[in-house]
């Protein structure tokens, strides 16, 4: 097993620990993710406003660090935030970052 992989990266989480996508304060899109794999799928389809909302608030980093315990990807996303991306640019970069992490996690040492 790759020692860089956080222990919960492939875990399927219970409902209360899933990531819930909102477009603004209190406005839940109905889209949620219970694992990093699912997160990778959902960020491709969710309203891009939701990605902007959560990235600016630091919600992605918080969930990835505190729930999935993956500080490595959290740091990658923190870097994305500094680029001030929006719209499809943001979606593409985010998808790329998460996919890269998943691929890296699956590959042997």
């Amino acid at each position: 097993m790759n020692p860089n992989i956080a222990p919960d990266i492939f875990a399927v989480l219970p409902r209360e620990k899933a990531f819930y996508f909102f477009t603004s304060i209190g406005n839940y899109t109905g889209v949620n993710a219970s694992s990093l794999n699912e997160f990778a799928e959902k960020i491709r389809e969710v309203n891009v406003k939701s990605l902007e909302f959560h990235l600016n608030r630091g919600d992605f980093e918080k969930w990835l660090t505190e729930v999935l315990q993956d500080t490595e990807i959290a740091e990658e996303i923190r870097k994305l935030k500094r680029l001030n991306l929006a719209g499809d640019d943001l979606r593409n970069h985010l998808c790329e970052t998460v996919s890269r992490r998943l691929e890296h996690s699956k590959s042997p040492l």
Binding site: R15, E16, A18, F22, I25, G26, N27, Y28, G30
Partner: protein, 179 residues
């Protein structure tokens, strides 16, 4: 007040007592009696009967939170639910102290409308994200933060009186007696 076939029927005097209590629930029986031209013992008996029957459900205090200096944020949540789960969702919402009113509504989809209070926008969002969105059967949520309150009252007994057939009956009887 009369009971027939398990139904409670209020007469015009009961309704007048309720109207007065809605204005000021702390009035003495004698003061209510004076306004209606009735003995305080009559008022006492009628009020006790209405309490026993649950028509008077509660005496409470209306607190003005703004004057108390507590700046609470109020919001209305519209929760779209799976019809099979909506009752359970409403029950779960009822356990959250920040949610102060819950209603269900049937439009194109089954909705739950809930009034919520929170310290600020961040705690409102945390409540919805951590305690409402994860409930099984919640499909999506729309939240509107209240910016200004123009009116907040209970339905007045006087305002709805004409909609109630039994009151019309009582009024007609009174008119017939020339009162």
């Amino acid at each position: 007040m009369k009971h027939r076939n398990g139904e409670t029927t209020l007469d015009a005097t009961d309704l007048k007592i309720l109207e007065i209590l809605q204005e000021n629930a702390r009035l003495a029986y004698s003061d209510i009696g004076k306004r209606l031209g009735l003995a305080h013992s009559t008022i006492f008996e009628r009020i006790k009967k209405m309490e026993a029957n649950g028509i008077i459900a509660q005496y409470t205090v209306k607190v003005d939170l703004e004057r108390m200096g507590t700046k609470k944020l109020m919001a209305m949540m519209t929760i779209y639910t799976d019809p099979k789960e909506s009752e359970k969702v409403a029950e779960q919402l009822g356990k959250l102290p920040q949610i102060i009113e819950i209603y269900t509504s049937l439009s194109e989809e089954l909705l739950i409308i809930a009034k919520v209070i929170a310290e600020d926008q961040e705690s409102l969002h945390a409540l919805i994200a951590n305690s409402v969105a994860p409930l099984e059967g919640v499909l999506r949520i729309r939240t509107s933060i209240v910016t200004k309150k123009f009116k907040e009252t209970q339905p007045s007994i006087g305002a709805i009186a004409d909609k109630l057939t039994f009151i019309k009956r009582a009024r007609n009887i009174n008119r017939g007696k020339g009162t």
